[in-house]
Symmetry: none
Subunit: 216 residues, 4 copies
DNA sequence: GATGAATGAGGATTCATTCAT
DNA sequence: AATGAATGAATCCTCATTCAT
């Protein structure tokens, strides 16, 4: 009896500069990254994402169909840079394995562990089970190629006698395992006991290509 | 002999009679493990937990104060067995490091990766960030002691010349990293490409204690 | 950062007598009838339905899957009584057509136009286009059989010379049209100018079976 | 010749230039008719109306104050033509009632049932309850005068002995009822079982003015 | 005049939690 | 102790309306 009668009080948009839509998209993704990483997909509130992005709730939906699409775009969008990094390593000239690994790990430490990108890895790990599509894509585009590359690298290193045995060639995952550990450690125990990532990586490289052994 | 069942159903407690409340607690925890692991803490429904445990929703609250308490009890409760396993390793007589590691990893593969206990690790990884108390406890009770033990083991091994350098002694996490990787891999990529955990572990042990090197 | 911490303030149900679930279902349907009829399907608020039914919003969902299901149950449920009424007419002994019609129309006027059941017809008319399933069902169960019955009745009447021609036999809808008009009139113009339904019906019967003509 | 179109699109008003605002108003009304008829007032989206009209959403508000005003203008605007049609019938010379009715009904069938104008009637029926002002207006301008006219027509016909009794004179609604039925039938059951409107109307005229009876 | 991105109140739906039985 | 119907706060998403350009 009151619905059509009471003209809903005027709503609309308060004056806000125009800003390029792409910047806004980025702002939303940045905000989403923080909120999703902090609370997880299910517990994150789009309300908070909007507030953090400095926009209205409804505006989110101009850029992303729904919560899930936002999440997927978030994780999806991070894959391209990772791919690029991977490519750089693949294109490395024929330098000693030790150097390749050092560079690779250092890059990872800087670009991922040392930046917000780390949060994306977190999300992939913590929410992956709920987003099979994303995981499948990520496996096909990053993990499998990355491992293949590592396999080649390690095979060559083994042939050259740079590493003690062919274990890392057969299981390139072994080469990456400490990086994953670093991510998870930071995510869980970072507050309690920070991990000396650099030291860890150095030690790992030492283990792989044998330090002292090189100059007996 | 069980005549009472044919009475006009008392509308309230089902005729399940006196049963040990401890069994019920277990049933709830088992059900909770499955549901939490499948959907994550936030998305899991206590309704489903109750149904899976074969009890009424309200009954949950007779055993656990709330959803969070249930979750914590779940993860907490799994720590004791882990502790015990750890102790067993610590108590090992003075056997070769290679054997200790083999035993340790095999036990982990069997008791954790090969059982539902794997789900608990998953939960710790995926939900840990939201349960600092749990993570703190886990770190204090399991991770720190475990790493300390590993440190001792590796230090001894290095002193004995069983391993090439002191990297694993300084970063005992390196020893555990592949196990973590196995858990995460299974959790994310298990469906896509199963990991040969046994092979991975063997290779890892080979890398640590040097296979071929032993018999030149 | 605050989600899992702040235990949501205790909610639950305030003391309310048990009442049989069936009565509650009825209360909901009754409330829904009023609200849907007053505002239409889209504009009706389940909140209002709940309030009118004297229950909490969430309780609705214990009885009906969603708004649509509630609406369909509402209209669906009204079909049974209509069917029964129809059957009564069909079972009438071989009385004069005039009397059959009088009875039929009087019943309709009393049972439908004179009661809340009229609202259901309204809903069918106003919302039917949005609920094809409902309309299909209604056509198959009520309209088609009803027209078939009317066809038989009018054919017999024509054969007996009780009516002037076979128009009503060929288009039994003609017999019902004034009833529909009465419903729509009441729905739209009832407030402005009440319709003398009884007079209308009498006049219609007179038109059909010829009043004065019979006894000049 | 239409070079301006190749200028760097002025980002704002499309180069549609000066066009008559009246045409645009019509386009909006036409689009609104379709959308409102398809979904009902509450469920129709102004977004869709704008898209269908080929204009921007904001432009709607240059022509109509709000959704309600648009709806009212829509239904209101259709009344004029109906009035005109009515007038034509009223102005008919003194021809036989049968012919007047035939013409009236045929006009209705062609101009209303056979055109998009039918949708307007639908809207009046389905949404009328929510727009009392509209219904009042419609009653005053169309229904009451129409019935008055019909009353006069039927009274004259009865006096002349063209119809069997004075029922239609006393309840001119009876004359219109089948038309209403045709509208509602089409609206609800059109998909399921098309109605032979022409046949229905013929039969109805036959019933009113007596077919065979005229020439015994 | 025209645009359409932005707004935010509103409403459907979910689910942890309670409590009369 | 156990039940499960009832509760209502919380949150996603929609869409009428506005206004800077």
């Amino acid at each position: 009896m009151k619905r059509p009668a009471s003209k809903p009080r005027p709503r609309g948009r308060p004056p806000r500069a125009p800003e390029q839509s792409e910047a806004r998209r980025r702002a939303i993704l940045d905000a989403a990254l923080v909120e999703f990483a902090a609370h997880g997909f299910a517990a994150a509130r789009l309300d908070d994402v909007a507030r953090r992005a400095g926009i209205a709730k409804g505006t989110l939906y101009l850029y992303f169909a729904d919560k899930e699409a936002l999440f997927e775009a978030l994780v999806q969008g991070a894959i391209r840079p990772l791919l690029d990094n991977l490519q750089k390593v693949a294109d490395l000239p024929d330098v000693p394995t030790r150097q390749v690994l050092k560079l690779l790990f250092a890059t990872f430490a800087r670009e991922v562990l040392g930046s917000d990108r780390k949060l994306l890895l977190r999300l992939l790990i913590t929410e992956g089970a709920r987003f099979p599509r994303l995981v499948t894509f990520y496996h096909a585009e990053i993990v499998a190629p990355g491992l293949a590359l590592m396999h080649k690298l390690m095979t060559r290193a083994a042939a050259r006698g740079e590493i003690a045995n062919d274990a890392p060639a057969r299981f390139p995952q072994l080469v990456m395992a400490p990086l994953l550990l670093a991510v998870v450690w930071d995510m869980l125990f970072g507050r309690i006991a920070a991990l000396d990532v650099e030291g860890l990586i150095d030690a790992h490289v030492g283990l792989l290509v044998g330090e002292g052994r090189a100059a007996p």
